[in-house]
């Protein structure tokens, strides 16, 4: 969570790194260890720009380095910028190295660990990712996809309900601690935790982005819990490539991994009948985790994953009326964050998006972009058929309301008034303008000068000197 002091007003902006940004911050040793698992290689590969994916595929089956000049010839003349971008992405992630060829030319070769593991993922061989549960036989209490979806949704909504402050939602100590560490909630001496401005913004994201953000926070605290970052990250990627509706065995998982599994159970990413069960089922949330990984890619990404309750239920009309076809308390609370609820029926809530309600939300730290993203990702299928999804009047107006707040800029300043004589006023002014650079505002008619706090000391001294002269 980054804190930006924008024009004197503190606004907490929720920033979520995507997978590549996260990986680039890891040390080279950890990266190389990470690439030792086919699932990680697949996940990283999928996040590459399309041209880079083709490069990797071409070099995947080569055992010799290729001259850099030859690789540069792969693209047409007007795509050279894309080529350079690919080169920097691939080098930044340590996916390929420079190697000198015989004859002195510089060549490129894929990171051997990455290459071997991607080949295994593509063609086979190597170790199995996890015990496929065949040894356990069929599950007598097997769960089908629908009940898994329901379970995942329930568990994740409990977390969100807890954030909004519903008294009925109870989460474990670990989880509330994690929320506080993530900056989504804060707690004052002994009180129950309450939501922060970043938390509001988090609530408006789509489920996949929320999960990914949460996961990143969890990974950051992994070291302090004594967990091996590489182990749990590999397991997460493995989960994201598993098959929905299939059970997997916990055979061969280490202690810390089993603890991690329990945490995942609480977030709704896996289902286990009992804590000591030998098998678990990944839910749709785990599998779409990789979809949230590219959360920053484009604001038009639909993000609505079926079965997670995100399937669209909001209709927005050009008269600023909003119809939310839901009776979930959580969704209604979210809609009420930025609109005024007018009527509530058993299956629909009618709300109005007004200037006051939007500016209230913005005062809480939510941006217009987040509101629009929320509306787009929860858009009713009827809305999805039109292009653009949201009426342009609404999107423009919400943005304008946000900009209205920025019409006034606040800067801190020290007020200097009462410069009785015009000559003293102009003397002060010329002194300030000469080199101090701390002038904030001046008014000739009233002989008022406002300077910034930093310059106040200097100007005061100058003023005292002048006073003693005249």
């Amino acid at each position: 969570v980054a804190l930006t002091a924008a024009k004197g007003v503190l606004r907490v902006q929720l920033q979520c790194k995507n997978l590549h940004e996260y990986l680039k911050e890891l040390s080279p040793e950890i990266l190389d260890r990470l690439y030792n698992h086919p699932a990680t290689c697949l996940a990283v590969y999928r996040e590459l720009p399309p041209l880079a994916k083709n490069y990797v595929m071409r070099m995947l089956f080569l055992d010799q380095p290729l001259p850099q000049a030859a690789v540069a010839l792969w693209v047409k003349k007007d795509s050279e910028k894309d080529h350079d971008q690919c080169v920097s992405v691939l080098s930044g992630l340590r996916l390929w190295h420079s190697q000198q060829l015989q004859g002195g030319l510089q060549g490129n070769i894929l990171n051997p660990v990455f290459k071997d593991n991607l080949r295994i993922a593509l063609l086979g061989g190597g170790k199995s990712w996890a015990d496929q549960g065949d040894s356990l036989g069929p599950d007598r209490h097997a769960r089908d996809v629908e009940s898994l979806d329901k379970y995942a949704l329930e568990r994740w909504e409990v977390v969100l309900h807890f954030m909004v402050g519903c008294p009925s939602a109870a989460v474990s100590q670990d989880l509330s601690q994690l929320l506080i560490q993530a900056g989504l909630m804060r707690t004052e001496a002994g009180d129950a935790p309450c939501i922060t401005s970043a938390g509001f913004q988090f609530l408006l994201l789509d489920t996949a982005s929320q999960l990914w953000y949460f996961t990143l926070q969890y990974l950051n605290t992994a070291q302090t819990r004594g967990m091996d970052l590489v182990e749990i990250l590999s397991f997460l990627f493995q989960l994201s490539f598993s098959t929905l509706g299939r059970d997997y065995s916990v055979e061969g998982m280490s202690e810390s991994l089993l603890t991690f599994l329990q945490h995942l159970r609480e977030f709704g990413l896996v289902f286990q009948r009992k804590r000591k069960s030998r098998r678990y089922y990944p839910t749709r949330l785990a599998i779409t985790l990789s979809a949230g990984v590219s959360a920053n890619s484009s604001s038009t990404a639909m993000g609505a994953t079926p079965g997670t309750g995100d399937s669209g239920f909001i209709v927005v009309e050009t008269n600023y009326r909003l119809y939310a076809y839901t009776n979930s308390e959580l969704q209604i609370a979210l809609v009420a964050l930025f609109s005024e609820c007018l009527y509530r029926f058993p299956n629909v809530v009618v709300a109005q998006v007004t200037r006051e309600s939007v500016q209230q939300a913005i005062a809480n730290g939510i941006t217009a972009q987040q509101i629009l993203h929320f509306l787009r990702t929860r858009a009713h299928p009827v809305m999805l058929k039109q292009n653009p999804v949201l009426p342009p009047t609404i999107t423009d107006q919400i943005r304008l309301w946000e900009l209205e707040r920025d019409r006034l800029q606040f800067s801190e300043g020290e007020h200097k008034y009462g410069l009785y004589l015009q000559c003293i006023y102009s003397l002060c002014l010329s002194f300030i303008l000469q080199g101090l650079g701390c002038l904030v505002w001046q008014n000739v008619a009233h002989r008022v000068i406002v300077v910034s706090p930093q310059g106040h000391g200097e100007v005061k001294r100058f003023w005292k000197r002048q006073k003693s002269h005249t």
């Binding site: 086919p38 699932a39 697949l42 590969y45 999928r46 996040e47 720009p49 399309p50 041209l51 994916k53 083709n54 595929m57 071409r58 995947l60 089956f61 010839l73 792969w74 693209v75 047409k76 795509s79 894309d82 971008q85 593991n117 295994i120 993922a121 593509l122 063609l123 086979g124 061989g125 190597g126 170790k127 199995s128 990712w129 496929q132 065949d134 069929p138 490539f241 598993s242 098959t243 929905l244 509706g245 299939r246 990789s290 979809a291 590219s294 890619s297 484009s298 038009t300 990404a301 639909m302 993000g303 079926p306 299928p381 999805l384 058929k385 999804v389």
Partner: protein, 285 residues
């Protein structure tokens, strides 16, 4: 450069020529490149395509002399998913599960296909135009079953073994014109004759894996001279000069007074009578 959005589905349909007579002869000619090696290369290509993006879809059709059969996906599976029988045991190795299931299924299907069809005669051509038509129908069906807000790009890759057969010309042209109406990107197609068959996988991955966006960025083999000669409708011979019916545009090598396709009658052209012009004598001054 924007990453491909998650709501864009890219469908690749691979049509493979599995004529058993041609492949049988091939086994004698070049024992190191057999049908199973060819299918291995095709499966590598299919795997690579599926791995590229979560929303990529794949279909493989085997073009046989008596039928066109879908090697992947299976009709019984839930649409588009690679999930087969949930109790199917996996390969037990490091291959991505989805690919394991797909590859095993393809191998089973081709074995069944080759063993159940009885081959008669020694024709080396297959029902390629029919397979293309099936591919187009499949693409159309997938396009109709997309979720709201999703867009689809599709392409067909044809791996052809035997030489061309002029008998199928008309069917081919029909299929291609149908495809042109369905998907405008057919004009961005690529043709490659592979000099070294054993390196099929490399050619597939280097030349045919990139989709239409990336093709505009990469340097790919230039277009090859295409034999644009049409086949006449009466004998199926390739001709360079012929007669075209002005109503239905069917092509004939010899003039006939009635077009066999649309049954329009044409008058036989008679030589025109030229009136002689009287030359005006210039008055001499």
């Amino acid at each position: 450069m924007m990453m491909a959005s998650e709501d864009e589905v890219s469908l690749l349909v691979i049509v493979v020529d599995v004529n058993p007579i041609w492949w049988g002869q091939q086994a004698n000619r070049e024992p190191q490149f057999t049908l199973s090696k060819c299918l291995d290369a095709v499966m590598v290509m299919g795997n690579s395509h599926l791995v590229m993006t979560r929303t990529n879809k794949l279909a493989i059709i085997a073009s046989h002399c008596q039928e066109s059969h879908f090697l992947y996906p299976c009709k019984l599976w839930k649409f588009g998913d690679g999930h087969g029988d949930e109790n199917a045991s996996t390969s037990g190795d490091g291959k991505y599960e989805l690919l394991s299931v797909a590859n095993d299924f393809i191998a089973e299907e081709i074995k069944n296909l080759m063993s159940r069809t009885e081959v008669k005669g020694n024709q080396t051509d297959t029902l390629l135009a029919g397979s293309l038509a099936k591919a187009l129908c499949y693409i159309h069906r997938v396009a109709k079953e997309l979720e709201a807000g999703q867009e689809m790009k599709s392409r067909i890759l044809v791996v052809k073994a035997a030489e061309d057969c002029a008998l199928q010309y008309m069917n081919f042209m029909n299929v291609i014109f149908a495809a042109q109406k369905q998907a405008c990107d057919i004009t961005g197609g690529l043709y490659l004759k592979i000099p070294q068959k054993i390196a099929l996988a490399q050619y597939l991955l280097w030349v045919f894996l990139p989709d239409s966006d990336q093709r505009s960025q990469l340097v790919l083999p230039p277009p090859v001279h295409v034999d644009y000669r049409a086949a006449c409708f009466c004998h199926r011979n390739l001709i360079e000069i012929g007669y075209v019916c002005s109503v239905c545009l069917s092509i004939f090598c010899n003039f006939s007074p009635i077009c066999t396709t649309c049954e329009t009658a044409f008058k036989i052209p008679l030589p025109q009578v030229v009136k002689s012009k009287k030359k005006k004598l210039k008055p001499s001054t």
